[in-house]
């Protein structure tokens, strides 16, 4: 009797583990790998085997009992579940079981549904180059704006083009870690732009191939977001939305990017109306009303067409 029990417990554990793995930020994601699928198949196979084994065992027991003319031992269901169900109202019991099944399926659907509409907090895909923000922004304390150079001018912060990388990596090859050879990750830059790392020169007539990064932060088409507005005018730190980026070896989505999250900040954050001539009038009104500061919301930052058009 012990074996099937363990089997059931184990397979349930597997299922639970595989479904919860997604909420763990630092675990490798199942988006790019088929781990999740494999786990599901594995648990289904295990469940099937345990059911089969249980069936065989039961059958053998029955045969054995017949042979020995012994009274059949009541089944697991008869022994354990039936008294409980019988003790309860059968309707209530059915409802509870059905409810549990629906809750499970519903939770499953909800989780995937959220991803389907683009809520993917914790999303950390594998990138074509294992670029580490921990080394660049953390260890070497490079300014974010050095690479994400359009963040103060444009709606998009923009991923740097390869010639920005080459400003340093023309010389920096991290070869000390690789026995004097160029780091394979840096070599990927050279392969894309056409640079001969050994002779330190660009290759003439090379057919360049851009790096296809996987986009982590995906706002839907229906909302407009402008980096320069938040960074220059709002003076928001990168980390406020992107989290401790300087500690990330692999970048993951820190915030959920849902509207409620935007709105929360707009409700609380003040406008630096004192130091921007655009807000001159708003600043005067604020002083007249005897306030210390006005929030983005008070300046109309919750109105629909500020972000949706």
């Amino acid at each position: 009797m012990n074996i099937p029990k363990t089997q059931i417990v184990l397979s349930t554990l597997f299922v639970l583990l595989s479904t919860t793995s997604y909420s763990n930020n630092n675990m490798s994601s199942f988006y790019s790998e088929s781990t999740f699928l494999a786990l599901i198949i594995l648990s289904i196979v295990l469940i099937a085997i345990s059911v089969l084994l249980y069936g065989i065992k039961r059958h053998l027991t029955v045969l054995n009992n017949e042979k020995n003319k012994q009274e059949a031992e009541p089944s697991l269901y008869e022994r354990k579940f039936r008294p409980i169900i019988e003790a309860w109202n059968p309707t209530v019991a059915t409802l509870i079981i059905a409810g549990a099944v629906m809750l499970f399926l519903g939770a499953f659907g909800y989780k995937f549904g959220m991803e389907e509409v683009g809520v993917q907090q914790g999303y950390a895909p594998t990138q074509p180059i294992n670029f580490s923000h921990k080394i660049h922004a953390g260890q070497y304390e490079m300014d974010c704006k050095y690479c994400h150079s359009t963040v103060e001018k444009s709606k998009s912060a923009s991923i740097p083009s390869l010639n920005t990388c080459m400003n340093c990596h023309k010389y920096v090859k991290a070869s000390e870690k690789y026995n004097g050879k160029t780091s394979p990750e840096i070599q990927k830059i050279y392969n894309a732009i056409g640079y001969d790392g050994d002779n330190m020169e660009y290759i003439e007539g090379y057919e360049q191939k851009p790096i296809e990064w996987v986009r982590i932060h995906n706002l839907p088409d229906l909302s407009y977001f402008n980096h320069s507005q938040h960074v220059v005018v709002g003076k928001v730190e990168c980390q406020t939305c992107h989290g401790p980026i300087q500690e990330m070896d692999k970048v993951y989505q820190f915030s959920n990017l849902q509207m409620g999250w935007c709105i929360d900040c707009h409700r609380e954050r003040g406008i630096d109306s004192e130091n921007n001539d655009y807000y001159e009038e708003a600043h005067k009104n604020m002083l007249a009303e005897g306030k210390d500061y006005i929030t983005v919301a008070e300046n109309g930052g919750l109105e629909c067409s500020k972000c949706h058009y």
Binding site: S156, E281, C304, S305
Partner: protein
């Protein structure tokens, strides 16, 4: 003027039962609910069914959820160009694609793709506007039917240019020894780069004949000027200096010569100044043209009588002639002559006839008035449309006789627009086309040296003598085309391969610039125009008006006549593959996607025809079958057909633009040695058994129900009281809501001057492109589902009759029902004609209508009725006075559309950009490149409407905030206001006291449409003032 005198269409005027019932509903077609409910089974759902569907639904959701979220890529540049910032648009000065002669514009480019044209405000001579077709032609860049590269005998087979050039050169070189010639058929492109290339080509191939070809001929003007002043030119017309304008059938605001520039010039004098002065415009014409709809005095005449009218005007002005000429009704020629004389050299007479003698008479009249040197400039003259059809017919004859061994077509599609061409081209063994897109001429071409699209190439054009307009590439070539100049030079033996990534076309353009213009090339490219004008001189005249009058007086008018005209949106048909232009309603008839036979009401009644009846019209040149459209204002016994339709595109052309209308070019009468667009003596017969044709017409969509929407007054009244025409008593406003204080921050508003607005509809197309408004096609327009955020309402009203008219048609049975000068209400006219016993004159009144155009878009009401009925708060109000529409919240109840008094909300019935049924470039990957990335592409099931270009507002605010400065609201404007060639639309911040809008809001002519509803609109209109002498326009209230 009282509101109930206006009507938008004949159905509304007649109040036909169909119209009344369809207008009572919000949507013209009901939802097929009854059909669904009549099926008994479907109305009853039992418990089992419910559980089945519920279970299936849950399962389906779970299954659907098992999809992987798609991985999106972000691909940066390998080496980013310095000037490109992803997310920030770049503007390049260039030349309009649809104006072959050249017209300066700016091209807005996002991440390397042109997404919109904007007027080049620096090029003030050309006026700061752009027309609907100009905007629409942007789609020709993203047309899937573009030719992909060099082709031989219709096949591409990876033709590289080197082997292609070898084959073409050997074919051309053979002609040198054959004794036969090479013809270059050149369209109206005024490119000086092309000039030079052709010169170099001709120096190698000395058997080359260059033949200019325009589908629409202006040879009447060029020949007349050759005879009168010795120069075969079209002069530059300065409408801005004209106080009195008299036009005989010239649609100079719509299609004649250079309408965008004329628009700006014309509108400068159309707004009454503080001392009550504005220009006066007489229009004598047959069809109701856009220009005629804006005239102060419009006189319906037959164009076959135009010569006689010119003689009459000549005589009235004191010209030396014994001939009387002709005056139709009233004393309009006399009145015009008096005003012309008074205006002296600040006047202008123009004529749309293509007969040389008519144009010589116009020249003589203008000379008498002293207009040369003021309103007419023959020194820095116009350079387009100079082709003479005699040159082309000589080519046709020679080609048929086998004198040509090769033909090269450049910017021309003669097989479509000249029915002699096909036969002649078939006789020429080598036919080289340099087209961009597959068309009638490329089908039969042996070699196709695909040209670069104008947005991909360098060019210098010279639309006016001494005024140069530059083009520069705004996108890297989408397909493997090559600049036509490079092609010609390559065949002439020059090496045209690109050196070190610098194209040959660039070097050659720069070389031509240095040779001909000189100066700083980069600066010229940056600004887009360079002027090198000569001082204007007044030409001396060779021929007197008297002798021309002798000739003209012999011209006989015809019984019936057919007038071939161009539509404002389509023009000569060269850009027939641009769906935005087809979807733009014609400014007067409001028909989309079709051409038709327009006829007057009296004719239709006499022949028992109705709008939609299919008829066969026969002229000396042939006949075509077309549906009838009854056009108020059209002169009796004249018929009109628009050119530019009926393209016979190759079979593999993909999209729904084939089979639109019928080709009317074969009906152009060339028997008298010139292309005559007025054919005399035509017959019309109803096609038996033909189905009633339904137009995609927006005319009476959204009716006015007799409300006071449009206001107008005469100039006399305006002089007495600048508030004339507006309500005398303003309604007392009681509001259900607490008023919001808009005096803080911004308060966006718009002012539209009905005096400047000509109804040209450029704003509609500009708005559609800026805001990703889908194209829905003819079938959906029939169902009243056009998506335009901005429409232009066109209202007709009857003119007050003159004494003579009274005798003609208002007095019936000895009883005079209308006093002279009394306002003609709809009812009075109806009463008059229903009592008329004389069928000949019963409906003549339909010839004398006035037109008012009114752009209508979301009025952004402070107390918006749409907002209060939305169950999900998808439409709300902003603190800046904007009525906001949030698409992702909308669930499509359409309550808001129902409750909107202005009927400006549009419902997305389909997902137009992902639906194969709507194959108008938006549903393919190439066409999607034109989409504005700053504006959401709406899905089906949501409402949408004008946002006052909120993306531009936000962007301008952000720029000011980033620059740490106060905002100057005149620094940006909406897409409609920006493109308006007559500056009728002004947008801005009412709280900025120095802005133009704040000043206009205090103007006496201002009023809000339906202000009695108390919805407090943010869009304000300004009463239309007509320069007429009536004093009867008292408010009815």
């Amino acid at each position: 003027m009282s509101s109930n005198n206006y009507w938008k269409g004949l159905e509304e005027l007649d109040q036909t039962q169909e119209f009344v019932s369809s207008n009572a509903n919000e949507f013209s077609e009901g939802l097929p609910l009854e059909q669904v409910f009549s099926n008994e089974d479907s109305t009853r759902a039992n418990r089992r069914d419910f559980l089945k569907y519920f279970g299936f639904g849950l399962g389906a959701v779970t299954l659907a959820a098992c999809n992987k979220t798609p991985i999106k890529k972000a691909i940066p540049y390998v080496e980013k160009p310095d000037h490109v910032t992803p997310g920030v648009p770049l503007y390049y000065a260039s030349s309009s694609v649809s104006n072959l002669e050249g017209f300066p514009i700016l091209v807005k480019v996002r991440e390397g793709r042109p997404i919109k044209f904007e007027p080049n405000k620096e090029a003030t001579y050309f006026g700061g506007g752009l027309d609907g077709l100009g905007h629409s032609a942007l789609l020709s860049l993203y047309d899937t039917n573009r030719l992909k590269g060099a082709m031989i005998n219709g096949k591409r087979k990876a033709q590289d240019w080197i082997s292609f050039d070898k084959k073409v050169t050997s074919e051309l070189e053979k002609t040198l020894t054959s004794g036969k010639s090479i013809a270059i058929i050149r369209g109206g492109n005024t490119s000086i780069v092309l000039d030079e290339a052709i010169k170099e080509f001709s120096s190698k191939y000395n058997n080359t004949n260059v033949i200019s070809y325009n589908p629409i001929s202006y040879s009447g003007i060029t020949r007349a000027n050759k005879a009168s002043i010795g120069k075969a030119i079209i002069p530059a017309y300065n409408f801005n200096q004209a106080d009195v304008i008299v036009s005989f059938g010239a649609d100079f605001l719509g299609t004649w010569i250079s309408p965008i520039k004329f628009h700006t010039d014309y509108s400068k004098n159309r707004v009454p100044s503080e001392d009550g002065k504005m220009s006066k415009h007489y229009q004598f014409e047959s069809l109701m043209s856009l220009t005629g709809s804006n005239a102060d005095v419009r006189v319906p005449i037959k164009m076959s009588n135009v010569s006689q009218h010119l003689v009459a005007l000549f005589r009235e002005l004191g010209g030396n002639t014994p001939h009387q000429g002709m005056e139709v009704v009233g004393n309009n020629i006399k009145a015009a002559a008096v005003e012309l004389k008074a205006a002296g050299k600040r006047s202008l007479v123009v004529c749309g006839s293509n007969r040389q003698a008519d144009q010589m008479m116009v020249n003589a009249i203008n000379m008498m008035l002293g207009n040369y040197g003021t309103t007419i400039d023959t020194t820095n003259h116009f350079n387009g449309h100079l082709a003479d059809e005699n040159d082309y017919s000589a080519f046709i004859n020679d080609a048929k006789a086998g004198k040509y061994a090769a033909v090269i077509t450049i910017d021309a599609n003669p097989i479509y627009s000249n029915n002699q061409s096909k036969e002649a081209f078939a006789k020429i063994p080598v036919r080289i086309s340099t087209a961009i897109t597959a068309d009638e001429t490329t089908v039969g071409a042996t070699h196709i040296a695909t040209n670069l699209h104008p947005l991909e190439s360098w060019d210098i054009k010279q639309p006016y003598q001494g005024r140069f307009v530059f083009s520069q590439p705004t996108i890297s070539p989408v397909f493997d085309g090559r600049h036509v100049a490079s092609s010609l030079l390559s065949w002439a033996g020059t090496d045209v391969s690109d050196k070190k990534e610098v194209s040959h076309a660039y070097k050659y353009t720069k070389k031509v610039f240095t040779q001909i213009i000189g100066g700083d090339f980069n600066k010229a490219i940056e600004h887009g125009t360079v002027d090198q004008l000569q001082e204007s001189t007044i030409p001396s005249f060779n021929i007197t008006g008297g002798s021309i009058a002798d000739e003209l007086s012999k011209v006989k008018g015809s019984e019936t006549e057919l007038i071939l005209y161009q539509k404002v949106g389509i023009r000569d048909g060269a850009y027939g593959n641009t769906p935005w232009a087809h979807e733009m309603p014609d400014p007067v008839s409001k028909v989309t996607w079709d051409n038709y036979l327009s006829m007057s009401m009296p004719d239709a009644k006499a022949q028992n025809l109705n709008t939609g009846d299919v008829v066969l019209i026969k002229t000396n040149s042939g006949g075509i079958e077309l549906p009838v459209l009854i056009q108020p204002g059209q002169a009796k016994t004249t018929y009109g057909i628009a050119l530019g339709y009926g393209r016979e595109l190759p079979e593999d052309v993909k999209n729904d633009l084939k089979d639109l209308g019928k080709n009317a070019y074969p009906l152009v009468d060339t028997k008298n040695g010139y292309a005559n667009y007025f054919s005399g003596n035509v017959t019309i017969e109803k096609v038996a058994g033909a189905k009633l044709y339904e137009f995609g017409i927006t005319q009476t969509h959204y009716s006015i129900e007799g409300r006071d929407i449009i206001r107008e007054a005469s100039l006399d009244e305006y002089r007495k009281d600048p508030k004339a025409g507006s309500y005398v008593h303003k309604p007392k406003m009681i509001s259900l809501w607490d008023d919001y204080d808009y005096t803080k921050g911004h308060h966006w508003a718009m002012a539209i001057d009905l005096n400047s607005c000509t109804g040209c509809s450029a704003c509609i197309v500009s708005c559609s492109i800026e805001n990703n408004v889908p194209i829905v096609g003819r079938d959906e327009v029939r169902r009243r589902r056009e998506m335009h955020w901005l429409r232009i309402d066109r209202y007709y009203s009857f003119e007050a009759p003159s004494k003579k008219d009274l005798n003609l048609s208002i007095v019936h049975g000895g009883e005079q029902t209308v006093e002279e000068g009394e306002l003609m209400t709809k009812e009075k006219v109806m009463e008059a004609y229903s009592a008329d016993s004389d069928p000949e004159t019963a409906y003549d009144y339909y010839q004398n209508v006035r037109v008012a155009h009114q752009p209508m878009m979301c009025q952004h009401c402070d107390n918006a009725p749409c907002e209060t009925v939305c169950p999900v708060l998808a439409t709300t109000h902003s603190s800046e006075g904007l009525n906001q529409m949030t698409y992702n919240r909308c669930i499509g109840t359409k309550y808001c559309g129902n409750n909107c008094p202005y009927k400006v909300r549009r419902f997305n019935w389909f997902r137009y950009n992902e639906n194969e049924k709507f194959d108008y470039h938006f549903s393919n990957d190439l066409g999607k490149m034109v989409i504005n990335p700053d504006v959401t592409v709406r899905s089906r099931g949501v409402m949408e409407k004008c946002s006052l270009c909120v993306q531009r507002i936000q962007s301008a605010k952000l720029t000011a905030k980033r620059d740490n400065r106060k905002m100057n609201t005149d620094e940006f404007t909406t897409a409609c206001a920006q493109t308006c060639p007559s500056n009728a639309i002004v947008f801005g911040d009412l709280n900025d006291k120095n802005s133009e809008i704040a000043k206009l809001y205090k103007n006496d002519r201002s009023y809000h449409v339906l202000e009695e509803l108390g919805v407090k609109p943010s869009v304000q209109y300004m009463t239309k003032i007509r320069n007429i002498n009536e004093t009867n326009n008292q408010p009815a209230h």
